[in-house]
Chain length 387, copies 2
């Protein structure tokens, strides 16, 4: 189930011709009655910000957090496109607004794909008209397909119960793709929430889900997560909603890791026992983004030496005698030396798609969790040439 | 020419049995008369410090910067080896001191190789005896061979003129090797210098040579650079010496980049126009350690999008309209958009082993230079399994 399984939302996904081969490349998500609902966004902090991010931010400011529609395209990121890029992103909103009958500022826009090329506006114009005609309340999964770039599978999520529901779609793996940019996600919900609260809940959920996902340490120019809330359930947003929203975002984040470029492993890395949470996060990210450690995951090798050495170099409080490293619950390194393990069990764990890695620093109560992937020949193949 | 071409130094390299297959694995460098000379060291800042680093540091403190010999082994890093590791490193110094007739504190020790295994002291003891017997004033290049791990060629350098000479050997590529740790370098000179000055000159030279080399962002547990100065030339160290020492270190650093694991490209990356030198260095290192950008060098692809996006995400002052990116002197990106290039010339440049990349940020006068390499299938092959 997905975004259109939340009451009151419609979607469509069509092939506009931005991509070749008649592939789906334009998605539209709207409210059923085309009336604006509460809207919130979380965006990339990359200073090379793409035009659609700038326009979406501006629209949310103008409306104070309201939107009737989100229009998204894949195949072209509309990034590093200068003034024309801004005009094109605005134009996408205007065309959508005219078609569904709302104010252009009530339309949000996202783009993902190649950086540095102007949007083919003829195809985009045709596509938006077509997407409006195709809007239905069962097309959320087609919209999820239309925002894919190097993704091999579309990503959908749905969480319900407690009187409200949340649907979501996403693409990408929180990294710069070949030179496809971006992770994008749109979430819909029928909970009752005002825009300010929606932003807070969304920021919180993103910080423990998408922001805990690191594939190659790269942050794209277009990263965007949008939440639309129409209030139809009559249930007010509470901590239950916060939990459900986090679950939805985590589900999408793990789907992205499982589908990350060329990866064969999804690694759930837990760091505990750091002096504080910031130091735990430094240790976790430094480990997750180490080329050497990523290679050993690909090789299914539970070698602890690189992990200890990487954390020793990461600038945090560290004592080699106090650190312990475990894979799949088996301690491979502790008290400054290698530990006896059940080699058979360990081998089985390392052969799985999903690996659990736990590093305890023995310093304090700081902790952090990140989800990451391995570094493979296929990753290099996908990224060594951009044309 | 190398370390033993500086008057007054002897060296040897032998196969002690630490490595299998009768490979060279133990090197000794001494003064001709076994009397101590001025000595200085620069060491890893990794908190998982290996035993030989701790012992060498201590010896330099005890003597106030004097040494008669440096004993080095490859095949075993004596890192993550606890109390026994410290005893073994001390023992290496004692055996050497007994053999050549000096105080154990006048011997410095370096190890490189596998992390987490105790040194095979029987082999080491035999090796040191043998190495002492083999000391000659023409064996510097053999010593350079005996410290290799995944290096495919030994690294030697020699700089002279102005009345003094400097010789050097090194191994590694300023990174953690598979699970071979370390870059090591020993430099000899006949300049007249006191230990305090020697340390200052060495720190300065290392900061603009070895420390500008980044292969995969990893800093090893054993990184060590040692300078021995016997004063035989009668020429006092001056700015000419500083320059020559920097040249010697740079020469070795570039040799290491050219021989980095699995690499096909050595990239000389210059960042200019940053707000200050620190921001330039952040931009340079962030670019040099980006998996995505490294892949594109492997693919000989002068794509600028990833470089601009990576620097945009690196947290420094940045304006996408002001940045320019050049490969081999040809501007590929400026004023926010792709530039016309001589495609033939650019292709030729990207096909070379050594690539020049210049990024100007258009913000100020800050600059930084790093030397780095690409990310290749062969790097993954070398690093995906440790056993």
């Amino acid at each position: 189930m997905t975004i259109t399984d939340v009451p009151g939302f419609q979607a469509s996904g069509i092939a506009s011709g931005i991509k070749s081969n008649n592939e789906l490349d334009l998605a539209l998500i709207t409210t059923e009655d085309r009336k604006p609902v509460a809207a919130a966004g979380v965006f990339t902090s990359n200073k090379m910000t793409a035009a659609p991010v700038l326009v979406t931010r501006k629209h949310l400011e103008i409306t104070g957090g309201a939107a009737s529609a989100v229009v998204l395209n894949s195949g072209n990121a509309n990034a590093a496109t200068g003034e024309q890029g801004l005009l094109d992103a605005e134009q996408m909103c205007q065309l959508t607004a005219q078609g569904i009958g709302c104010d252009p500022s009530e339309v949000l826009v996202c783009s993902t794909g190649w950086i540095g090329y102007p949007l083919p506006m003829e195809a985009v114009t045709f596509g938006i008209t077509n997407a409006i005609d195709s809007l239905k309340d069962d097309q959320g999964k087609v919209a999820a397909q239309a925002i894919m770039t190097t993704d091999t599978v579309p990503k959908n999520t749905f969480v319900s119960g407690k009187g409200f529901s949340i649907g979501g779609i996403s693409k990408g793996a929180a990294m710069l793709q070949p030179n496809m940019a971006t992770m994008l996600s749109v979430l819909t919900t029928d909970v009752v929430i005002d825009p300010k609260e929606a932003t807070q809940f969304l920021q919180q959920a993103v910080s423990v889900s998408f922001n805990c996902l690191t594939v190659d340490g790269a942050e794209s120019t277009n990263d965007t997560v949008i939440l639309l809330a129409n209030g139809k359930s009559g249930v007010k947003a509470s901590s239950l909603f916060a939990e459900a929203l986090t679950d939805a975002c985590k589900d999408l984040a793990v789907q992205m890791a499982d589908d990350a470029e060329g990866s064969t492993k999804t690694v759930f890395l837990n760091v505990t026992g750091a002096k504080n949470n910031d130091e735990a996060e430094s240790a976790a990210r430094s480990t997750a983004n180490s080329q050497l450690i990523k290679c050993s995951w690909y090789g299914q090798d539970p070698y602890w030496g690189r992990i200890a050495a990487q954390i020793g170099a990461s600038g945090i409080q560290f004592d080699p005698e106090k650190i312990s490293v475990s894979y799949g619950g088996q301690i491979v390194y502790a008290k400054g030396e290698a530990q006896e393990v059940d080699a058979q069990e360990l081998k089985k764990h390392m052969a799985q798609r999903r690996i659990d890695l736990h590093v305890d620093l023995g310093q304090g109560n700081g902790k952090s969790e990140v989800v990451t992937t391995d570094l493979t020949h296929a990753y290099i193949d996908e990224n060594m040439r951009t044309s």
